[in-house]
Structure formats: C-alpha cells, structure tokens
Symmetry: C2
Subunit: 290 residues, 2 copies
C-alpha cells in the first residue's frame, strides 16, 4: 500500500504548501467519513444543505471575523481590468502582484457553519433547527504540516440552533456518538478543552473562553485534533438576529476535519486506507443513537 | 414543492451574486448527479482523485491561462501583516481594500481538469490514464444568472490521457453514455459546437478552434450548456510534459456543470427535485456501456 511519505505520484495522498491531493483509496475514505458524519446529522433530524463557497467581507465583519482573526483570512480578488493586458503577455511571471488586484468583497470560508448562520439571519423559530453541511475551508497558517495542518481543508459540520438546552444536548448527543464510533474503530482520542479558533487568543472572547471553556476537541495520540464540539452561546443568534422563542437563539456545532481523519486513520491502519474506509462504514453504523 | 423563484428561505435553492445555496432535496439531486457521472468514469476505468483547491499562478501561466482569460481568474490573497491592525477595529467596513492585500501566488481553479494535468506533469505512460475528479470552480463573469451562470460552481470531469485515438474514443464513449442517460430522463439536449472557454475568442487558439472545433457541448432548450466534450489535442501533453509512448500525450475530458443540471432538471421536473434525483439514479444505470 503506497504511503504518503514516499511523496511521489504513487502515494495515496500528498500535501504541499498546505494543499492536498488524494488518490484512491484515500478518496473513498474521505467519502466514507463524510457519509458517516452527515448520517449522524440526518439521524438527529438535520437537513443537508450547501452554502455559498465564498462569504462577503461585510457579513464576516458582523461575526467579528476580522476583529478576531484577520490573519487567517483568504480574500478573493480579481485582476484590475486596466491591468489585464500585462498578464496576457508571457513576459510576466511569479504571483499576481498586489498592485494588479481589485478590492476583495469576498473571502473563502474558514469554517463551514458561517454560511448556515448567515443563511438563517433575520429569521425566528420556535423549534430547534438542525443543519448539516460540508465546505472547503481555508486558513492561512504560519506553517503547514501534511494533512495535520492544511491551508485548504474539508469541514463537515452538524449545527444546532435553538435554546441553550438544545445547543447543549446537541453536543452531548455527539460526544456519545463519537465515543461509540471511535470505540468501534479501536481509536483512542483524547477529549480536551481547546482555545477556539473563532476567537484570537488575546482577544476579549479568548479570555472569556479560558475562564469558561466553550470548545472541546478530540485529539489523536500525536495531538492532531480531528473533531470539535463548539458552544457559541447566543453569539450568532445576536449577531445574525436569529430568534428562538422570542430571544436570540443559542447555537452549537460539531465539526469534523476530514483530512485530519485521513491522517489519523492512515496511522491507525498502518497505511491501509481501504481497510480504514471499510472500518469507518462499519463503525458508523455501530450504536445508532436513534 | 418550493421553487427557487420565490427566492426566500423556503426555496430549494437560491443564487445571489453568482453564489448558490442548496437545501434538500436539491442537495440530494446534486449528489445523485455526481454519483452517476463519477460512476461513468469508474466504469470506464477512471481513478477517483481529488486535487488541490487552489492552483499556483506560475502553473496556470504554463497552461496559457493568463494569456487566454485573465479576466475570469480569482486570485487568492491575504491581508498584509502590517495592515492587520486596521481590520481588527470595527471602524473599517466594505471590502478588504486592494492596498491591504499581498501578492496572490494562487488562484481558485476555473476548471477541474487543470489539477489533474498539473499532477501528471513530467510523467510518461504507455497505457492510457483515466481520472475522474470534482472541483469547486470559479469564473468571474460580467453578469450572473441563477444556476445558469455562477461565479462559483461544481464541475465533475472524466479525463483521458493517452494517444490521439484514446482521447477521441473517450469522448465518443461519453457522447453515447450521455445520449442514453438523457433519453432515459426524457430530456432533450442539443449537441452543438462551442467556443472553448479554455481559449479567448480573439486569441490564436480561438481562431484555430473555429477552423476545427475541439469542443462540443450539450444544451438544454433554454440554451444552458450542461455538459461539454473537450478535445485538447496534445496541448496539455506538451505544456505539462506528459508523455505517451514517447511523445506528448493527447488528452480529452468530459465535463458536467452540476448546478446547471439542477437548473435544467428543475425545469424538466417542474420543481420536483426529489423526483428528479430518483430519475437521475435510475437513468444513470440505464444502458450500462460496459
């Protein structure tokens, strides 16, 4: 079975500059993982939705995105119309110069759930809303590390909007679901509090979070966090004006980094990703939470 | 059944500024379409692969990307480190100003097959190589129109690398496959020559193409092109140094724009996307080309 560490075209996956390539059977494993996690959402009553692949800078500002982590952002621009010509000649090389770019009205998402909350903006409900979605997400990092830390990655989320109790129960349900899944896989993940990538560590919310942790993650033995359980309190309910029973809704989400699962299962199954995919599908059915 | 034209949150899909949102059952239809088209690839012997979600500007230059359509490109930048601070305060609004962006070394893909050819660069083969892949693609357009013309869209491709004959046979096989599929769906698509979006109309290759068409597309009765069959001759073989039997390989690809299929089937099934998804899965199996 080809391993990634040969880093050649024979490898089942490679990652360069934070961007990954997958061959079979890694593609089958990613599909299996996504089917299992999305299936947990569907089983809990979540609707499968898909949100715009780019988000408006203005909308992100509403969510304190720039206040908290402007450094992670990936603004999407285009070449200035008056500078197109210099690019049509072979003389130019290297990157597209900043001078040639127009203002960026949109950014690539850094998490799958933003699209859901922005979609629900200015709505109100008296029943909890569950949504599952998957998105290509991007975060600029100081360094990249195989599938453990990518610039572009795939995040499956299961999102809950409702009362504080709904939001808490949603996470509890998935703590249990995940425990059954990892037990069936024979995988030992450590549950630990985490500083939320939603909020910069030296920001006000980062401080609040260390006082009362709202994010927990599950980490492989090498420290790779493969899943997180996020309690947003009524932050998105307030910022997006999403009402539940006459007040700003509480929200929570369960997030899975699919490429990090491939990394972890690649280790766990000693490079046999086909066996990993089969085990994931079997384990996904184990202990149906009903 | 909610229709998109109510443009509210009840709609199965909406599209705004070239960016689309999908609910059930539209998400199930997209999944069914992708499964069917990817299945045709697998049936022909294609490997399911996934390529980096961003492409290097330098690599795209090798493929004449900027010479042919710099106006379509979506360069991905980040905020200049020395300008981060002005974004952490709520004072800023509107887009991320061009002055605050760094040079863009990467762009979002405008077609799914680029990643495949760049992946195969500097390799040689004596047997045809078939790959199927799906990608989020982006093209800046002058205007957007529902799901018919999006800024961000999903393209499934089945790619062939080999001799001129392999490349031609690959397209022939899929012309037949598609005809069986559309017949089973009762869908009337017009086969027509197309100017290739790979090449600007006034460019040298655009002229060559009008002399000897290398791209054909299938259009719905309202003119929406939902599939294209692309003969690249040995262009990618030469530019990416992909060898077949000692010479630059010939390549071809079959491409499906998934959102445009949703648009077309939404019309064809009069808004009943659940019925459309079921019909797609049934029709996908019809007339297995073996």
């Amino acid at each position: 079975m080809p391993r990634a560490d040969d880093n050649g075209r024979g490898a089942s996956w490679t990652a360069e500059h934070g961007l990954a390539m997958f061959r079979e059977p890694a593609t089958a494993l990613i599909r299996a993982l996504d089917d299992v996690f999305a299936g947990w959402g569907a089983e809990a009553g979540a609707e499968r939705m898909s949100f715009p692949p780019l988000l408006r800078a203005d909308d992100l500002r509403t969510l304190d995105y720039f206040a908290n982590f402007p450094h992670l952002g990936a603004p999407v621009s285009r070449i200035r119309p008056d500078r197109l010509e210099r690019h049509t000649t072979a003389a130019t090389d290297g990157p597209v110069a900043a001078d040639d770019l127009v203002d960026a009205h949109h950014l690539l998402p850094s998490a799958a759930c933003y699209g859901a909350f922005l979609h629900l903006a200015d709505t109100a409900t008296d029943a909890p809303v569950l949504i599952t979605t998957v998105a290509q997400c991007f975060r600029h990092e100081d360094h990249y590390d195989g599938l453990r830390r990518l610039w572009g990655f795939t995040m499956r989320e299961i999102i809950c909007v409702g009362s504080a109790e709904h939001a808490r129960d949603h996470l509890e349900r998935h703590h249990k679901r995940l425990a059954l899944f990892t037990a069936a896989l024979g995988l030992d993940l450590a549950r630990r509090p985490a500083t939320d990538p939603f909020f910069q560590q030296d920001g006000a919310r980062g401080i609040m979070q260390r006082l009362a942790p709202v994010k927990e993650e599950y980490a492989h033995t090498d420290g790779t966090a493969v899943a997180s359980m996020n309690q947003h309190r009524n932050f998105f309910g307030e910022r997006c004006a999403i009402g539940y029973a006459g007040k700003p809704a509480y929200t929570s989400c369960v997030a899975f980094g699919l490429e990090r699962w491939v990394h972890t299962l690649d280790e766990h199954f000693e490079g046999d990703l086909r066996a990993a995919a089969e085990a994931v599908l079997r384990a996904g059915d184990a202990g149906d939470a009903g």
